[in-house]
């Protein structure tokens, strides 16, 4: 049914009120996604308003791009269309925090930083620390399956998200999962929403598992001579009784960016537990480092703030490289070789969780063709063992030149397409941006 723009605007205004809807050029331009300027910017204040907007969009045939803090809008393919940007920053209430149960329910627009500040009062933490997490919304972190160094100990959102309230493409408000730490009643719907980029539903509320903040924590930088030694450190560490909470790999460029002493590579390890055990494990780590020819150097408390900056590179390209843990050194080597061949002189910083083989590569500004060639080459290298390379951020031209998600095997892709067809047949939610153009 063809819809006149003004009357849709009127309906949106009726749902959102004056404060909740922006139609002026400045607001629309500021909310653009990959250069696609929406016709409306909706900022709902309640889940009911989200539901109203989606029901309207569904019936009027509009495309909706949900938005958290706007930090990850370059993830995915350029959108097929954007009519409404749905800014969820207004859903910013902590609904229920039960310290005794180590659970919290929040609205999706709450930032990880705001929650952390609250939780610190009772020495609890949500161990979700990707770069920039402080200002990112929990809904956005969930939709993009973000993770950071602490995953080495606490896992990812898959291990932290207990329940989720979302609004389906046609406006139906739906709940999945539970508010308690253990439940197997019905399908694990929260898992389906993690990393789905809002393509199956717009997240409005999350129930999360919390952890106690360790009594003491300490960080060491294990300095090594090359990638092979870094690999040896990681392998030995994971095969030891040391229980690290972070195991991050850095290449030479990342060391430089973090203001750390120059070197070819290093492994940053932190341990968090009772003070006596931190000491004991520090000694064990030092011995382990010596055995493989490296050196474990204690770091100041602000190490992880500086580390976060090593991954940030304005205007460049960011990649997420997943590889086998035993393939870390080889992936580092291939990246160096590929960069030298395809993008000589372009710095490539590598950081990431060595304990699970989840690396982040930040490239300085680079021609899209060169970046595309580099990504394809890396994909060819890690794919045989089941690895993947995703373009997390970069210019639109790059994400048009190649699929930022990379290939997904036909079997799972068929199921993913069937899911999208079932839950968003009209392609309201973020159309075109997800894997396989979903």
């Amino acid at each position: 049914m063809p819809v006149a723009g003004r009357s849709v605007g009127g309906a949106l205004a009726a749902i959102l009120g004056r404060e909740g809807l922006r139609e002026d050029d400045a607001a629309r331009a500021a909310a653009s996604v990959d250069g696609e300027v929406p016709r409306w910017v909706a900022r709902p204040a309640t889940p009911e308003q989200v539901s109203g907007v989606l029901a309207l969009a569904h019936d009027a045939g509009l495309a909706v791009a949900p938005r958290g803090s706007g930090s990850a809008l370059e993830l995915g393919r350029p959108p097929a269309r954007v009519d409404v940007v749905l800014d969820l920053g207004g859903l910013d209430r902590v609904l229920d925090w039960s310290p005794d149960d180590l659970t919290v329910s929040v609205q999706a627009g709450v930032s990880a930083g705001a929650l952390a500040t609250r939780l610190a009062g009772r020495r609890q933490l949500l161990p979700l620390d990707p770069p920039g997490a402080a200002t990112r919304t929990l809904g956005g972190l969930t939709a993009t399956a973000a993770s950071g160094p602490l995953r080495a100990r606490y896992g990812t959102l898959r291990d932290l998200l207990l329940g989720v309230r979302f609004v389906q493409a046609d406006g139906v408000v739906t709940w999945g999962g539970a508010r308690v730490v253990k439940s197997v009643s019905g399908y694990d719907v929260p898992k389906l929403m993690i990393g789905a980029l809002g393509t199956l539903g717009v997240l409005v509320e999350l129930t999360l598992r919390l952890h106690p903040t360790p009594e003491a924590e300490r960080t060491w930088l294990v300095r090594v001579r090359d990638g092979a030694e870094a690999q040896a450190v990681v392998d030995a560490l994971l095969d030891s009784a040391i229980q690290p909470n972070r195991v991050e790999l850095l290449n030479g460029a990342a060391l430089g960016a973090a203001g750390l002493p120059a070197g070819a590579a290093a492994v940053a390890v932190s341990v968090g537990t009772v003070a006596a055990a931190v000491r004991a494990q520090g000694e064990a780590l030092a011995a382990l480092a010596r055995r493989v020819g490296g050196e474990a150097v204690p770091q100041p408390a602000d190490f992880w703030d500086r580390y976060g900056r090593a991954g940030a590179l304005g205007g460049g390209v960011r990649l997420r490289v997943a590889t086998l843990v035993t393939g870390l050194a080889a992936a580092l080597g291939e990246l160096d070789a590929a960069a030298a061949d395809l993008a000589p002189g372009v710095a490539a910083r590598v950081t990431g969780c060595a304990a699970v083989g989840a690396l982040h590569v930040a490239l300085a500004p680079i021609a899209p063709e060169a970046a595309a060639a580099l990504v394809e080459r890396l994909r060819g290298f890690v794919a045989p063992a089941g690895g993947s390379v995703v373009v997390e951020a970069g210019p639109r031209a790059l994400r048009e030149a190649l699929d930022p998600w990379g290939p997904v095997a036909p079997g799972p892709l068929g199921l993913m397409r069937a899911l999208k067809d079932e839950f968003d047949p009209a392609r309201v939610l973020n159309p075109g941006r997800f894997v396989g153009g979903l």
Binding site: A4, A280, A322
Partner: protein, 481 residues
């Protein structure tokens, strides 16, 4: 439902005569799982030895529109691996090989019929273990654990089965064999692996599983504390969590349970103990040492009658003995029991235990409690004598009320055993129509003909019917033409 000759012949062609059980006596063995209330023998039992055979069976059944019921070891407690609508039961216990152990990458790939404990046995000499440890781990299959998303005493710290599954090979209800996930984390796309864990066979059959292996902890320490009341013990649980300690296991037994155990094996719990708390800590030696001391001190501060710390492996086994033999000890009190698996927020433990006591008095039934206190997962055991029908009725009524009480306190109907036939009609207590409808449609994506383990996990409820649409918000009137 009687199977046609065509189906039987085709199954025999796929599996050979050794792989098909069709005699009435043979099929009877498969009429129920460990929840023996529910009975339903399949028309035939198929025993494949490969994923290819599983795929052929599903395709055949789909063509002939015959229900398919997967079965691992049949240790389930929910009426899961049984065939209320007849059809073909696919027993996976012949597919019990370890396909690959990759310790440097800390994972293994196994066939679904492999018994849980065998995997740990295969890697423990090299210092690794498979974390999910349902009390049935000596018999239950990893395929069954994955399909029920099983928990265990140590999942407080280590998480439940899904937290340890990296990948699955699944033969969907559409008869497609797909590889979901794998050794490398962070695949682009929807987390189909995570979504398929716990599907109880309703998405299809799991034919291979890649699981994470963990490095064994350096040290383990077990503390046993007894208390004059459940309130005291619950206070201690809260105190331990508030001190920032997450024990590997935190189990509680109540007065009736203690009485049964003392009358039976005699675990040496002190007189007057109305609650026993079993606390197990593992991790780096220095951490375990400090935390065990702290936990013991907290128990004393909260009025423990007696606190014991195991000094060696033998003593540790002794402290666990009462917990492990709890259910068996009940045999002295009554011939039968119903087992509940609901969950409440941990902070509601004292309240729910008071409520359960009231329910037991109201219905004149004895209820013993042994449960995973750390995560609020209750296991009230409601005692009855099945020779007296009115006792059965009273037990049933009490069981029902316990469940409702847990939901009213913000809990869930099942914490680890699963839904199956047993709890399918209970899901509406916890989910609204829109939520159930979403799940119903999700199942259809994996199993379009709804032939995979029909009648399980989802209720026969209006929200799960064809054509049902949950209410959508009303749009503002007259906004456009």
């Amino acid at each position: 439902m009687a199977l046609t000759r065509t189906v039987l012949d085709a199954l025999t062609r796929i599996l050979g005569p050794d792989g098909v059980i069709s005699s009435p006596e043979g099929r009877l063995v498969y009429e129920c799982d460990m929840q023996t209330f529910y009975k339903g023998a399949p028309d035939v039992v198929a025993l494949p030895e490969s994923a290819e055979q599983v795929e052929a069976i599903v395709r055949l059944c789909r063509r002939e529109r015959v229900p398919v019921v997967p079965r691992g070891s049949g240790s389930g407690l929910i009426g899961g691996a049984m065939a209320p609508a007849g059809g073909v039961m696919v027993g996976l216990n012949r597919m019990d090989r370890i396909l690959e152990v990759d310790l440097p990458n800390r994972c293994a790939t196994v066939q679904p019929g492999l018994v849980n404990l065998w995997l740990t046995r295969a890697v423990e000499d090299r210092g690794y273990f498979f974390a999910p440890d349902p009390s049935s781990q000596m018999v239950s299959s990893i395929g069954g654990n994955v399909s029920t998303n099983a928990g265990g005493p140590h999942c407080l710290k280590y998480g439940i089965t899904v937290n340890h599954v990296l990948g699955l090979e699944l033969v969907t209800g559409a008869g497609e064999r797909v590889q979901l996930g794998g050794k490398v984390a962070d695949r682009p796309g929807y987390d189909l692996t995570g979504t398929a864990v716990g599907a109880e066979g309703t998405f299809g059959l799991v034919t291979a599983i890649t699981v994470r292996l963990l490095h064994a902890a350096e040290a383990v320490k077990t503390v046993l504390a007894s208390f004059p009341s459940i309130e005291h013990a619950s206070e201690a649980v809260s105190g331990i969590i508030a001190a920032g300690i997450i024990p590997a296991a935190l189990e509680m037994l109540d007065a009736l349970m203690i009485q049964a155990i003392e009358a039976g094996i005699g675990a040496g719990y002190p007189k007057g103990a109305a609650a026993v708390l079993l606390i197990e800590l593992d991790g780096p030696a220095a951490e375990v040492e400090a935390q065990a001391e702290r936990a013991a001190a907290i128990c004393r501060e909260r009025g423990a009658l007696d606190v014991r710390v195991a000094r060696d492996e033998a003593e540790r086994a002794l402290l666990w003995k009462g917990r492990k033999e709890a259910a068996g000890a009940l045999g002295r009190l009554a011939p039968m029991y119903m087992l509940q698996d609901a969950v409440v927020p941990r902070s509601k433990l004292p309240a729910i235990m008071r409520e359960i006591l009231a329910i037991s008095e109201r219905h004149g039934v004895q209820i013993a409690n042994v449960f995973h206190a750390g995560d609020g997962n209750l296991h009230p055991l409601i005692l009855y004598d099945d020779r007296h029908p009115e006792q059965v009725e009273r037990a049933r009524a009490a069981n029902e009320e316990v469940l409702h009480a847990c939901i009213a306190m913000g809990g869930t109907v099942t914490g680890e055993h699963g839904v199956g036939l047993d709890k399918a009609q209970k899901l509406p207590l916890q989910y609204a129509d829109a939520d159930l409808n979403f799940m119903y449609r999700l199942r259809g994506v994996f199993d379009p003909d709804r032939l995979m383990n029909p009648g399980k996990l989802l209720p026969s409820h209006p929200a799960c019917g064809e054509g049902f649409r949950p209410a959508r918000p009303r749009l503002p009137d007259g906004a456009w033409i």
